[in-house]
């Protein structure tokens, strides 16, 4: 039989037992809907997590540290495989060299130091971080209160909301006020004493002295995200100042002390770490390798995101399995409906065969009926699943609003999920139709015609 005639007959048969077939199709729809709703939540959560992480500007950044840095400072330490390269200082020369590597946008030092801030004559301890001008466009400062730094060397500060809450009950009122940053400036000691090897206590030899200093900063903004989050080993920075400003402070940092302990001090300024921003996250991996070849430690959050992706794959799989349970039940519904239809249409099958229908014609007829139920169920299921996802999103946002939190996009139905669900629905329905179709095809026409 031609495809069009086959479809005509199948649709006519489906219409004839409209209630039963509609209920079966609804079963498929509910199954697909639960699958789509579950997966859309998985996809939505994944997108939410990736968005938050990429807003932190860490996915296109490689963190470079000297090879001889301390281990166990709370930072993940990559395994050293290329031991033939000698360890190198992370100084200005190194910075320039890294800048010349292909696909590098910029290389800037990570300046972070733990210090004291005075506000309204009260002391507060926090971590200060220098922010490069490029972070303006990273998305991390989207939706901030106030403004970004007016210039790269302005004496201005942006507060992370948690720190702002420490300073005042009404964080927005802080914008425009002034705070005092107290820090330890590193001053080089011009020349070492005579060749006297027995050094007096406090004398650091060819080292530097530390002088307390103060700087007044104007608060110009409050940000809710964590633009300088996570990596660095010194905790999350809550007070952000322009990178240029931070550099000129020459504040003593952790690596200075480390160098003294190791007796590696020189008058050259070294960095505890450099951030290398790459044009695209896809180039991070190869660049990471070439930085390691230069004799530095390199680490990117791509490694961390890999495990995140693994987590979401497993999460999606679990959601998919739970969602599929309903679809499995719906499959039984299709088998049941079609087996019932064989009983009911036994005589009709006999007539079709007497009129010249081949076994394959009868088989295809039942197959198409199963496929049509699957397709229609798939379409309504995707719609239903989308509505369900929206409803869950809506409910969640209502709850978040009550907790005075920002709304989030919890569920997401990308086009591939729609196609996948439709394909899956038809595939499952066709396999459900396999048994009934072959049973109908094998029906003996003489027995079928005798059936009352």
């Amino acid at each position: 039989m031609k495809a069009r005639d086959l479809t005509d007959l199948a649709l006519r048969n489906l219409r004839e037992a409209i209630l039963r077939n509609a209920l079966t199709t609804l079963g498929v729809a509910v199954g697909v809907a639960s699958l789509v709703a579950m997966l859309s939540l998985g996809v939505g959560l994944q997108q939410l997590a990736s968005k938050r992480l990429s807003q932190s500007g860490l996915f296109d950044t490689i963190f470079v540290t000297p090879k001889n840095s301390f281990r166990g400072m709370g930072r993940p330490q990559p395994r050293e495989t290329d031991s033939e390269k000698p360890p190198r200082q992370l100084d200005e020369d190194a910075r320039k060299e890294l800048e010349k590597l292909p696909n590098v946008i910029e290389v800037y030092p990570q300046i972070r130091f733990f210090t004291e801030v005075r506000f309204n004559n009260k002391p507060y301890a926090t971590v200060v971080a220098g922010m490069p001008d490029s972070s303006r466009n990273s998305g991390a400062f989207d939706g901030m209160q106030g403004n970004f730094f007016s210039s790269t060397s302005a004496n201005e500060a942006i507060l992370q909301i948690e720190f702002a809450k420490d300073l005042s009950d009404k964080p927005p009122s802080l914008v425009g006020q002034e705070l005092t940053l107290r820090y330890a400036e590193r001053q080089a000691i011009p020349t070492a004493g005579s060749g006297d090897s027995s050094t007096a206590p406090g004398d650091l030899g060819n080292g530097f002295s530390v002088v307390p200093k103060e700087l007044k900063l104007k608060i110009i903004g409050i940000v809710e995200t964590e633009p300088a989050a996570g990596y660095g080993g010194y905790g999350n920075a809550r007070l952000l100042i322009p990178l240029q400003t931070a550099t000129t402070l020459r504040a003593a940092q952790v690596n200075d002390l480390r160098d003294i302990v190791r007796g590696e001090t020189s008058n050259k300024i070294t960095f505890s770490s450099l951030s290398v921003r790459v044009k695209s996250p896809t180039q991070v991996e190869s660049l990471e390798a070439s930085i390691k070849n230069l004799g530095f430690n390199a680490f990117s959050l791509l490694d961390a995101s890999k495990s995140l992706r693994t987590f979401f794959s497993v999460f999606d799989l679990l959601l998919g399995i739970f969602g599929s349970l309903a679809l499995a039940v719906a499959t039984l519904g299709i088998v049941n409906t079609l087996v019932m239809a064989i009983l009911e249409r036994r005589r009709e099958i006999g007539v079709l065969k007497a009129l010249g229908a081949a076994d394959s014609d009868v088989q295809q007829l039942f197959f198409v009926e199963a496929g049509v139920m699957g397709f229609l169920g798939g379409i309504s299921g995707v719609t239903l699943g989308w509505i369900l996802g929206r409803a869950i999103s809506f409910g969640t946002n209502l709850y978040l609003k009550r907790q005075s939190l920002d709304p989030i996009e919890l569920s997401s139905v990308p086009w591939w999920l729609v196609l996948l669900a439709l394909f899956f629905a038809v595939l499952v329905s066709l396999s459900a139709g396999l048994y009934p179709a072959s049973r109908a095809a094998k029906l003996n026409p003489v027995d079928a015609l005798r059936y009352e």
């Binding site: 005509d8 007539v351 079709l352 007497a354 009129l355 010249g356 229908a357």
Partner: protein, 238 residues
């Protein structure tokens, strides 16, 4: 002059069933020849094996032994797909209970064999009308079977059997569900088709009187065996 090739030639055809341990010989070594354009009536009481024999000729069932030659090909050795083609193109069949599909209109019922034979859509409508004209029911084309009398339904079934222009028409008790005068009309129609289209007709019936009037030859069966054949008396009753 050589004898023309017969329409149907049965040679020692048997059909046995297993019912539990015992074997039932529904048709037992029947040899029979039906000539081209002949109207043969198969007579016998119920259980005599006449319907089983008809199903074998229709290609709905396969013989346990023997050969059934229709237009030179042996049905016993055809594949199931070829048997389906044979049913589609070479034979038309009508039944005691008409076997029209109740949810389809007359037009759709008659169109069904054309769909199965993959006849072009553009030709179908004219072929359906032609078949309905032969049974004089063109005016009921959009009706459903339940809206028709028994005689009319059997005429629709005949139209459906004719629509693929078969050479052989097989009728299984076509008057069994009809009153006697309607039955006569139906058999008159069959005989008209035989003479107008030169069709070969094999009809199973247990009404000897009707068979005598309309068929050319009678074949009697009992206990699965062919008891004998005789020419019909052609008593017109006028």
């Amino acid at each position: 002059m050589a004898e023309p090739q017969p329409a149907v030639q049965l040679d020692r055809v048997s059909r046995h069933y297993l019912m539990g341990e015992t074997s039932v010989r529904a048709v037992d070594e029947v040899s029979l020849t039906v000539g081209r354009g002949e109207f043969l009536a198969l007579l016998g009481s119920s259980g005599s094996g006449k319907s089983t024999l008809l199903n074998l000729m229709a290609g709905l069932d396969r013989p346990t032994a023997g050969s059934i030659l229709v237009n030179g090909s042996n049905l016993a050795s055809l594949s199931s797909l070829d048997l389906a083609r044979y049913r589609r193109n070479t034979v038309g069949m009508i039944f005691q209970s008409f076997n029209l599909l109740p949810r389809m209109t007359l037009e759709e019922n008659i169109e069904l064999p054309l769909r199965l034979a993959e006849v072009d859509r553009s030709d179908r409508s004219s072929r359906v009308r032609e078949a309905l004209e032969r049974v004089r029911l063109t005016h009921r084309i959009g009706h459903r079977p339940a809206e028709l009398s028994g005689g009319e339904q059997q005429r629709v079934a005949i139209a459906r059997a004719l629509v693929n222009r078969p050479k052989l028409l097989l009728a299984d008790e076509p008057t069994g569900n009809l009153d006697s005068s309607t039955g006569e009309t139906i058999l008159g129609l069959l005989r008209d088709l035989q003479s107008q289209l030169g069709m070969t007709i094999v009809m199973v019936t247990h009404e000897r009187a009707l068979a005598e009037r309309f068929a050319d030859r009678l074949a009697s069966m009992g206990d699965g065996r062919l008891l004998g054949t005789s020419p019909a008396m052609k008593v017109t009753g006028e």
